[in-house]
Amino acid sequence: MNLRQIVQEVRLEVRAGGSALETEVQGGYASDIISDVLANARQGTLWITHQRHPNIVAAAVLREVAAIVLANGREPEEEALRKAREENVTLLVSSLPAYELAGRLFGLGLPGVKK
């Protein structure tokens, strides 16, 4: 499954990194704790979070995630958005709460991240 399919299926909005939507997604991971994401996200992970600050972009770069998805209609902070564009990090927004978003993606066949 690639980002484009996911964006279409669960109606995500693109805030940054729209040119990288052909990226294959390996699995999904939901977490708001940066140290937890540093430990558990993998390359190609679709990361669902509520955090809006620039540290999410740094973590996304370090772990080479496929995209960050902000849940519950949350928008990134100015600085986070700027950094995402600068670093070519795909930043998406969903109006769905994290639980539902994850559930829908799982139902579409996107597995959790493999350890």
Partner: protein, 124 residues
């Protein structure tokens, strides 16, 4: 805020100080950059310190290093026996760390299945 263990730290320090400078036969470097700490480096350090306490066969010194740029393989440690090339171990758990201690540090045998690379920079 509880802090009752001043003595514990004092004891630990005395033990560390009793290792003579430059005579160490083994050095364990635990990677403690942000990724390492996030992945559990503290537990690995604690387990290895416990191993060192329990087997007084060799002088083992500990060290830490910062981010090595291999975030996906943390927690990592590097083991260096005197006169030998350092060996980097990755994807560790407390069990793996303890096994590495007893096989590599105590018996001098590298645990190949957990090792990433055998380095070329010796410090001992």
């Amino acid at each position: 805020m509880r802090f009752e263990d001043l003595d514990k730290i004092t004891d630990r320090m005395r033990k560390v100080m009793s290792l003579r400078e430059g005579s160490s036969q083994a050095k364990i470097t635990v990677h403690m950059g942000t990724c390492g700490l996030s992945a559990g480096a503290r537990k690995i350090m604690k387990a290895l310190i416990q191993c060192a306490d329990e087997t007084a066969t060799k002088d083992v010194i500990f060290s830490t290093s910062a981010c090595a740029g291999l975030c996906s393989r943390e927690p990592m440690i590097t083991i260096e026996l005197a006169g030998q090339a350092p060996v980097k171990y990755v994807d560790l758990t407390e069990e793996k760390a303890k096994r590495i201690f007893s096989e590599h540090i105590v018996n001098g045998k590298i645990v190949a299945e957990y090792a990433l690379a055998i380095g070329s920079e010796q410090t001992l």
